[in-house]
C-alpha cells in the first residue's frame, strides 16, 4: 500500500534518506467545507520546501496541520496521516505541546510577546525546561539571537520590549524565539509578507542560513521568493496538491498546465 502511493519524487531523490515528515491522504475540513483535499507529501531534512499557490488554495491550512495548530480552531477536522520521524502526530500518544516544540512555527505577521527581547526568546526554553540555570539560558538566548542574525542589533538592549523593534527585526525575533526551543522543523507562514523589501531580503538570507540545521517549510504567495529560497516547491490549487518537485524543475519545466499557468501569471 505504502509503495503504491509513494511519490515519484521521493524515488528520484536518492540523496535524502528517510523524509523528516510525511503526509498521506491528508484532508482538512472546516465544518462542512473541505479546505484541503487528499494531500500526500514528504518534507526533507536540510531542505527548504516552499508551498505556493493562489490565496485560499489551502496551503496555509495544510501548513498548520503539520504542527496541529488547526486544533485551536474548534470546527477544523483533519483526516489522513501525518508522520514526524515515522511517528503519527495525530496519535493519542503524541503530546501536542511536545510536537509544537519539535515543529516550530513563524507567523505571517510578526507577533512578539509584549515582553522584553530576552524574555521573548527565553520563554520557550523555560517552559520546556531546556536550561538548567540562568547561565545556560543566557547561552541559549544568545545562540538563538545569533542564528537569527539579530544579536548584534539587540545585544545591548535585551531588556527592551520586543514590540519596540522594527517589523523586520520583530520577525527575526520570532524566528529566534522559534529556534530557541531547538526544533527539528520550522514552519513559516508567509513570514515576509508584512515586511518591506530590505527586511524581506534579510529574512530570505536567514532562511538560507538556517537550512543547514532544520527542515524548513515556507508558505509564500511570492513566486520569486519561492524560487530564491527553496529547493523543493509544492503547488497547491483549490485545496489540491497539483505538483511537487525540485524547485528548478517546477519553475522551468512544470508537468501540469495549471502549474504553468500560475507561474506564468495566467491566474492567481
Amino acid at each position: 500500500m505504502a509503495d503504491m502511493i509513494q511519490s515519484p519524487i521521493q524515488a528520484a531523490d536518492a540523496a535524502a534518506s528517510s523524509p523528516k515528515m510525511t503526509a498521506r491522504g491528508v484532508s482538512v475540513f472546516y465544518g462542512e467545507k473541505k479546505a484541503v483535499d487528499d494531500v500526500s507529501i514528504d518534507i526533507h531534512r536540510e531542505h527548504v520546501t516552499a508551498f505556493i499557490g493562489p490565496s485560499g488554495c489551502g496551503k496555509s491550512t495544510f501548513l498548520r496541520t503539520l504542527n496541529r495548530m488547526n486544533d485551536t480552531i474548534g470546527s477544523a477536522r483533519v483526516e489522513g496521516r501525518i508522520e514526524l520521524d515515522s511517528e503519527d502526530i495525530y496519535a493519542s500518544s503524541m503530546d501536542v505541546v511536545q510536537l509544537r516544540a519539535r515543529v516550530g512555527m513563524v507567523f505571517q505577521k510578526p507577533n512578539p510577546f509584549p515582553k522584553s527581547i530576552f524574555e521573548n526568546v527565553a520563554y520557550g526554553p523555560r517552559i520546556h525546561g531546556l536550561a538548567a540555570g540562568k547561565a545556560e539560558l543566557d547561552v541559549i538566548v544568545e545562540r538563538s539571537l545569533r542564528r537569527a542574525g539579530l544579536w548584534d542589533e539587540v545585544k545591548d538592549r535585551l531588556a527592551e520590549s520586543g514590540t519596540a523593534l522594527s517589523g523586520g527585526q520583530q520577525q527575526r525575533l520570532c524566528i529566534a524565539r522559534a529556534i530557541a526551543v531547538d526544533p527539528e522543523v520550522i514552519l513559516m507562514d508567509e513570514p515576509a509578507s508584512a515586511l518591506d523589501p530590505i527586511a524581506t531580503a534579510r529574512i530570505e538570507e536567514l532562511i538560507h542560513e538556517l537550512r543547514g540545521n532544520y527542515a524548513i517549510v515556507i508558505v509564500t504567495h511570492n513566486m520569486q521568493q519561492a524560487a530564491r529560497v527553496s529547493q523543493r516547491t509544492a503547488f497547491f490549487h483549490l485545496g489540491v496538491l497539483v505538483e511537487y518537485g525540485e524547485t528548478s524543475a517546477i519553475f522551468t519545466n512544470p508537468r501540469e498546465t495549471r502549474t504553468k499557468d500560475y507561474i506564468t501569471g495566467r491566474y492567481g
Binding site: T72, V97, R100, G104, M105, F113, P114, I127, V181
Partner: protein
C-alpha cells in the same frame, strides 16, 4: 397617473419668497429651542449632582469638628483618690478603671458652671478626663485646665442652628472664652453610640474593610477563573449557554434579592454568624462576581489571537498560554472591572440589611465572625435617628463613603488610561 401629475404645481419653488423665509426662520428657531432643551437637560442633571454634593458637604463638614468647653479641674481636691505613682507601669490600666472619672467630672463641672454644669458636657466627656490623666499623671497633683467635648445641644448651637436656650448658654460661654472648636477625633476613631457627640465611624469603616476583604477574596478568583473558562476553553454547548445566561441575569438581579439569598442560605441553612462581615462579604461576593466575569471576558477578548498563536507555536500548552500570556495582558482590564465592582459593593446597603447587619454595634469588629456594621448601613441607621446631632454625623459619614468611592473609581480610571493597550 395623469391626475397626479396635473395636480402638482408646475411652477418652480420660490426659495426667496416671504413665506419660505418665514418658514426657514421658524425652523431655525425650533433648532435653537431643541438645542437649548438638550443643554438644559444636561445642566439639570449636573446641577442635581452638584446640589447633592454641596448639600452633603455643607451638612457634613461640621461633623468632623466638635465644640469643646473649658473645664478647670482641681485634681487634689477632687473625689479621684488616685496615686500618681499607681499610674506608672503595670497596674496603670486597672487603677484607671477603678477610679470614678464620671463623678470627678460631675463635681468639677458643678463647681465651675453651677448645678446644671454637667449638662454642658457630652456624656462621654469623662473619657477625655481619663485620657488626660493617663497621658500626664502629674496632673493629679495640681489644678489643670482641660478642653472637653461639649454636649450635643451646645455643639449644635456652636455650629449655628441650636435651640434658643442652648444658643443663650453657648453665647455666655463664648463671651467668657470657654468654648472652642476642635477636630472631632472621636468621630474618626470611635464606633456607634446613642449619643451623637460620641459616635464614630471607625467601627463601621473596619466592618466595611473586613467585608470587602471577604468579597474580594471570593469574587475575584471565581470571577477571573470563570471568565478564563468561558472565553478560552468552554466548548459551545448547552452547559456553557446556561452559565452565560446565568451570569448575565445575575448582573441584573436587584441587590435585595441577593440579601434574601444570603438570609436563606448562609444564615438559615449554613448557620453562619448573623451580622458578621463573613456573611456580608459572601453575599456581596455573589453580587460582584458577575461584574468581574463580564469585565474579565471583555479584557481577555481584547488580547489579540496572534499572541496565543505565538505561544502555541513554540509549544506552550493551552493552560500555559492563558496563565503566562493572556491573563497578564488582560489584568489591567480585569482590575479595572474589579475595582468598579468593589466600589459598587462598598456602597451597597439593602442586601446587608437582610442578613442582620443593622444591629447596634458599639465596638469595632475584631474578626470576620464578629457582629459588625458597614459604612452605608451606618449611614442608614444614623439617618433614622431623631436627635438633631445625627444629621451632621450622617452627612459626615456620607462624605467619608463618597471619598472612598471616588478614590476607587479614580484608581480604576487611572489604571485604564495607564495600561490600556492598543494592538
Amino acid at each position: 397617473m395623469t391626475d397626479m401629475a396635473a395636480s402638482i404645481d408646475p411652477s418652480p419653488t420660490d426659495w426667496n419668497g416671504e413665506a419660505m423665509r418665514r418658514r426657514i426662520r421658524r425652523r431655525y428657531a425650533a433648532e435653537r429651542r431643541f438645542k437649548l432643551l438638550g443643554l438644559a437637560a444636561i445642566l439639570v442633571s449636573a446641577g442635581f449632582l452638584a446640589f447633592l454634593l454641596v448639600t452633603m458637604f455643607s451638612n457634613g463638614i461640621s461633623g468632623f469638628a466638635r465644640s469643646e468647653v473649658r473645664l478647670d479641674v482641681d485634681f487634689p481636691r477632687s473625689s479621684l483618690f488616685l496615686d500618681p505613682a499607681a499610674l506608672e507601669g503595670f497596674g496603670a490600666d486597672q487603677a484607671l478603671a477603678g477610679a470614678d472619672f464620671p463623678e470627678a467630672l460631675n463635681e468639677a463641672a458643678q463647681a465651675q458652671y453651677g448645678d446644671s454644669g454637667r449638662s454642658l458636657f457630652s456624656e462621654g466627656a469623662w473619657i477625655g478626663l481619663r485620657d488626660a490623666v493617663r497621658d500626664d499623671p502629674s496632673l493629679l497633683g495640681r489644678r489643670a485646665t482641660l478642653w472637653l467635648p461639649a454636649s450635643t445641644a451646645i455643639d449644635i448651637a456652636a455650629k449655628g442652628e441650636g435651640e434658643a436656650e442652648a444658643e443663650r448658654l453657648k453665647a455666655r460661654l463664648a463671651e467668657a472664652g470657654r468654648v472652642r472648636t476642635g477636630i472631632n477625633w472621636t468621630f474618626l476613631r470611635g464606633s456607634d453610640s446613642t449619643d451623637p457627640s460620641a459616635v464614630g465611624i471607625w467601627g463601621a469603616f473596619k466592618g466595611s474593610l473586613l467585608t470587602m476583604i471577604v468579597t474580594l477574596l471570593i469574587a475575584f478568583p471565581i470571577g477571573v477563573l470563570s471568565a478564563v473558562y468561558l472565553e478560552e476553553y468552554a466548548p459551545r454547548n448547552r452547559w456553557t449557554d446556561m452559565i452565560e445566561v446565568s451570569i448575565n441575569n445575575l448582573a441584573a438581579v436587584p441587590s435585595i434579592i441577593f440579601g434574601l439569598l444570603g438570609l436563606a442560605i448562609f444564615l438559615n441553612v449554613m448557620h453562619l454568624p448573623r451580622s458578621a462581615p463573613l456573611v456580608g462579604g459572601l453575599t456581596l461576593a455573589l453580587m460582584t462576581m458577575p461584574v468581574i466575569v463580564i469585565a474579565g471576558r471583555n479584557a481577555i477578548k481584547s488580547v489579540p489571537p496572534s499572541i496565543r498563536d505565538a505561544a502555541l507555536g513554540i509549544g506552550a500548552s493551552r493552560i500555559q498560554v492563558v496563565f503566562h500570556h493572556v491573563l497578564p495582558l488582560a489584568l489591567p482590564g480585569i482590575l479595572t472591572g474589579t475595582i468598579i465592582g468593589m466600589a459598587r459593593a462598598l456602597g451597597e446597603t439593602a442586601p446587608l440589611l437582610m442578613i442582620g447587619m443593622r444591629a447596634f454595634v458599639a465596638a469595632p469588629p475584631g474578626g470576620f465572625a464578629d457582629p459588625a456594621s458597614v459604612l452605608p448601613v451606618q449611614i442608614f441607621l444614623w439617618s433614622d435617628e431623631v436627635s438633631r446631632g445625627f444629621v451632621e454625623k450622617t452627612s459626615a459619614a456620607i462624605i467619608v463613603l463618597l471619598v472612598f468611592l471616588l478614590a476607587m473609581n479614580g484608581l480604576a480610571i487611572y489604571l485604564r488610561n495607564k495600561f490600556e493597550r492598543r494592538w
